[in-house]
């Protein structure tokens, strides 16, 4: 494979079978390895589409400043693209995110504004909206509401999965901005009768839900409930256990949110076995484990790792 530049090499990631974790030859689980993107996460796809759309619409020109609320991966993808294209990037990031994410962002030249840990990404979104209002020349791409986010998956991730596995029956991914599930979900629903679209939503420690009242909650503008078949909440204990299981049984070194997606995928697989149905279940490996080493997710007992992850944003 040859590309004109790093940016051109986004996507076309491998889909690999999990022969040891799949319950049978009729019920198979497949991993879409999105860590094989230029900056190591699935977010390279939406980040580039959002930038390219903004360029097409004339919102962005070299020298412009991009502002984005992000818990990490989107920021890292934007930072790489911004560096190559001559933009300045400011990320608003919750302070309870891993040190590796901060180091990577700084390496690519991004400026980081920290938002309070309590409230998680809600606070980052709120702060970024305030900053955007006060600095009208800055361009906020806003991954939570930018249609280019889900379009990137509708145009690339979805078609890749269907090309590689025309017999796909289920698609499982983490729920954050909802872009992956909305884009791949819409694409597969149009082409695969009966396909099931399953969300795995991270359930963090209590600090992250530290709102003042329930009406301060946040639902991404991109979210359309009708695209999903169902939605599971996966706690850090299950996510960690599955992340380690994936490495131990199939050799895949993934980030913690992948463990949450795998947990939901294996739940779906068990249900198919029980019902005596055939299934080809694709789940997303959103990133590799590298950025989470300092969180201690891979060391010691699961209880210890879970304790260390308390209050951290791991997806």
């Amino acid at each position: 494979m040859r590309f004109d530049s790093l940016i051109d090499s986004v996507g076309r990631t491998p889909l690999v079978g999990l022969p040891r974790l799949s319950p049978s030859t009729d019920v198979r689980v497949w991993a879409k390895l999105e860590d094989r993107n230029p900056t190591g996460s699935i977010k390279d796809r939406p980040a580039l589409w959002m930038i390219q759309e903004a360029e097409k619409e004339g919102l962005l020109a070299p020298g412009c400043t991009i502002l984005e609320p992000t818990s990490g991966n989107t920021g890292i993808s934007l930072a790489m693209a911004a560096r190559l294209k001559g933009y300045k990037l400011i990320c608003v990031m919750p302070e309870n995110t891993s040190d590796e994410r901060r180091q990577l962002l700084r390496m690519w030249g991004a400026e980081i504004i920290s938002s309070p840990a309590a409230g998680g990404s809600n606070e980052a979104v709120r702060m970024a909206k305030e900053l955007s209002a006060r600095n009208p020349s800055w361009v906020m791409l806003y991954q939570y509401g930018n249609p280019a986010n889900w379009r990137s998956h509708y145009e690339t991730t979805g078609p890749e999965i269907l090309d590689d596995l025309p017999t796909v029956t289920h698609f499982v991914a983490g729920l954050g901005t909802t872009g992956t599930l909305m884009g791949v979900g819409r694409f597969l629903r149009e082409r695969v009768p009966g396909v099931q679209i399953v969300a795995a939503e991270p359930r963090y420690g209590e600090l992250v839900y530290g709102l003042r009242n329930v009406d301060e909650g946040f639902i991404p503008e991109l979210y359309d409930e009708s695209v999903l078949t169902t939605r599971f909440s996966v706690g850090s204990a299950d996510a960690l256990r599955r992340t380690r299981e994936l490495l131990a049984t199939e050799g895949i070194f993934a980030g913690v949110s992948t463990g949450a997606a795998l947990h939901a995928a294996l739940g779906v697989a068990a249900k198919a076995v029980k019902a005596g149905e055939r299934a080809d279940i694709v789940f997303v490996v959103a990133d590799g484990g590298w950025k989470y080493l300092s969180t201690g997710a891979y060391e010691g007992t699961l209880d210890e790792a879970e304790e260390r992850l308390e209050g951290q944003l791991w997806a």
Binding site: P69, T70, S71, T74, G119, G120, S121, N122, A124, V125, Q143, Y144, G174, L175, G176, T177, G179, E201, P202, R203, Y204, E206, V208, Y209, G210, L211, R212, N213, V214, D215, E216, G217, F218, I219, P220, E225, L228, T229, T230, R231, F232, S233, V234, G235, A315
Partner: protein, 90 residues
Amino acid sequence: MAIEVRIPTILRNYTDGAKAVSAEGKTLEELIGNLESRHPGIKDRLVDQGNLRRFVNVYLNDEDVRFLGGLGTPVTDGDTVTVLPAVAGG
């Protein structure tokens, strides 16, 4: 036997600080009604005009009840119901 209901931090002022309480009912709606009789005021934080509040997520054994049947979702002894506010990811 009863159903365990996990309460998020912001609603624990209704449960004397308890992280989890038990309640009874055959459906989620009945369960919330029963919860209200034990912890007055909590129902209004969860339900608005006969529907779950927009920023409240309720999970039955980790599955979002909006995909199971909403307030009409059947519940049985031994189930776990988790209430969480909707927060951003990404």
